[in-house]
Symmetry: C2
Subunit: 413 residues, 2 copies
């Protein structure tokens, strides 16, 4: 017998699951469109050179690679075997899309992408090998008008999805660089220090100290003390600027101040705060970075930042770019756990005898469509377990269920 | 530099392309939902055993296969190299979905699927390696109530998409079997004769005679004459029954008569006709088959049939099943060629000076949102080529464009 379960780590969506997901996606798209973003689509499959061009960080280890077709494959290496792969995110394909279509896009291009991505990760609760990402990006805008719109639009989307207490934590990749420079770390120690700092939530102060000590002996306590002084200040960004002095470029501080000032007033369902401990994993960020969480849950449900150097790798000329990605699967899980999800109305169902002849079926269909002046009528043959069938139909959202017998309709409650 | 074009045979969709496609998909889904169908989703990736189980016909030669991960691959064969593949249609995954979820589905399950499929076909005009199929299926309904609903719903969908003259050609796989039995072909010659008949449109009468002669010498003319007598009769189905006599099971004739009778009266934008030359390629069909065309174009834009034996290969018990697939890409092409596709309204755009400070930006956003009582406002910095920017914004669907200068808004026509 053939396998009947989906491939490992992947999911079937039943009608009620699909309906909820589609409804959430529609709300997200509509909100983003109201902010002037426009939805585009790229193929699920990309050339393997693009996917393995060192822009995807650790995700490049998780690519589903596609075998070449119609070639001798004996003794071939991975690289020789595969010419294509499934995309692991929507940012790398977007950069390619922009480079490919720039002539037909507006000077400042504001895109929406809502699509599946694939990662050959170890499946676990809430982590899948095919999952949906929702990204918005602004390409071609150098100023922080981009960041302001991305953050405002995303918080409005969460508001429209019923989340009335969200937090965006904000920092800047250049501020992180200043931080490690101020502490005297070497350039090649930088990314290891970032990784340690990123784990503060998980491993705590002692853990970070230990990890920094393995990178540069004697610097662990100094580094963590600096972070603590900034964190505990009444105005962490001011404190940070004081601590970093000339290490922090003045435009970096002004960038964060402006974003905090403008979004602070525009957003009604949460807050935007500076957080010196925010890191964001991807190496391609060049400026502002941010992460979104729903208050009380302590997990990230989205994030993004500025990546001004990625498109240049495809066009030869750098183009400023900035994005915000919502973790759709987490949002969908939170909404489904909230319960109270309404079932779409499916109209009227007519149950007919199992042996009704097809010629009579026509009369029934026409009679009930006319009677109810609606095409929203489904004709079904009765099954043996009649009460079970009626129960199922009600669960599916049929508002009215009729039984047809000897030329007349009887309503079933 | 990295590749900027999509993978061979695949496409990027610009905002206006995406909007049209999404609008068509929404019309299709809404119409099918009105007939009681419910949308589901399966993963793009399936286990390779499912995809290569001889249910996909020639499409199985076109599978994009996915390389196993984390294993030694030296000297391995194709089968040993790959454990997954991209689906080439939506019918085989649906059968697996049904087998996997039957306990949670209604006794008669009416599904909608609208999703990408992938085929490593040679790309050519109008043929792509990633394309969308729109399928509806009825699972668990033994009678031709299934066929009647599938045909009626699909014709209504085409009507709602603005096609007011469509034809469904109808036949039955069992009638084709009777036809070749009546002409005295051997069982093993059957599929070759079907393939020859299927080409009638392309190679003409002489071509079919020649091809049948290579299968069974001396039978070409007799076979084609039989087809011609049926085709040219005033009532082809009656003529077919007379010609085939006892070879044609009585229930096969009644099945077609009933479908013709009921759909003939329900459909307002076209006609349903019997066509003895209709073949349909897939080997899994067991009964009724049909194909949809838009009058005057002479190309098929959809088709389907009954496949009562497929689900049993996964569950051990046969379950009656019947489907209709719309060729979405062809429909989308026809609609886009029709032109006159409206651009969605995007609200108001405000153009501000390139060097406006972010703190002023907030005031502008709040002022114009309040003034217009709408959140549908986009703020953009002016680019050097101002008139080009305004032209682009109009093309994108912005209804009102304002210039902000020294504290006041000036409308741009």
């Amino acid at each position: 017998m053939l396998p009947k379960t989906p491939a490992k780590g992947m999911r079937d969506f039943l009608p009620k699951d699909f309906a909820l997901r589609q409804q959430i996606l529609a709300t997200i798209q509509k909100t983003y469109e109201n902010f002037g973003f426009m939805r585009i689509e790229t193929p699920a499959v990309e050339n393997i050179e693009l996917l393995t061009s060192k822009q995807g960080g650790d995700n490049e280890k998780l690519i589903f690679k596609i075998l070449k077709r119609g070639e001798k494959l004996e003794n071939a290496s991975d690289e020789q075997l595969c010419d294509l792969g499934l995309r692991y995110d929507l940012t790398v394909p977007l950069a390619r899309f922009y480079a490919n279509n720039v002539g037909q896009l507006p000077a400042v291009f504001k895109s929406i992408q809502m699509d599946n991505v694939w990662r050959a990760d170890r499946p676990q609760r809430g982590r899948y090998r095919q999952f949906v990402q929702c990204d918005i990006d602004v390409i071609g805008e150098q100023s922080n008008l981009a960041e302001i719109e991305l953050i405002t639009a995303t918080m409005q989307t969460l508001d429209n999805l019923g989340f009335d207490n969200v937090t965006v934590r904000l920092s800047d990749r250049r501020l992180l660089n200043a931080l490690v420079a101020r502490c005297g770390f070497e350039d090649e120690q930088k990314s290891a220090v970032f990784i340690a700092l990123d784990k503060l939530d998980k491993i705590g102060v002692t853990g970070v100290i230990q990890e920094v000590e393995t990178i540069a002996q004697g610097k662990g306590v100094e580094f963590v003390n600096l972070i603590n002084r900034i964190n505990s200040a009444s105005d962490p960004l001011e404190q940070c600027a004081r601590e970093l002095g000339d290490y922090l470029p003045v435009e970096v501080k002004r960038n964060l101040e402006e974003i905090l000032y403008v979004t602070g007033d525009l957003v009604t369902n949460g807050r935007v705060v500076f957080d010196v401990t925010l890191v964001r994993g991807m190496g391609y960020y060049t400026g502002t970075i941010y992460e979104l969480s729903v208050d009380g849950l302590g997990i990230s449900v989205g994030g993004g930042g500025r990546y001004d150097k990625m498109i240049g790798r495809m066009t030869g000329n750098d183009v400023p770019a900035c994005g915000f990605s919502i973790g759709f699967e987490r949002i969908a899980l939170l909404i489904s756990e909230r319960g109270n999800t309404s079932v779409a109305s499916r109209g009227t169902a007519i149950l007919v005898d199992r042996d009704l002849e097809s010629k009579q079926v026509l009369d029934v269909m026409q009679a009930c469509r006319q009677a109810r002046k609606s095409s929203n009528v489904t004709l079904l043959r009765k099954i043996k377990n009649f009460s079970f069938q009626v129960k199922q139909l009600k669960e599916q959202g049929y508002e009215a269920i009729y039984e047809y017998r000897n030329g007349s309709f009887g309503k079933i409650d």
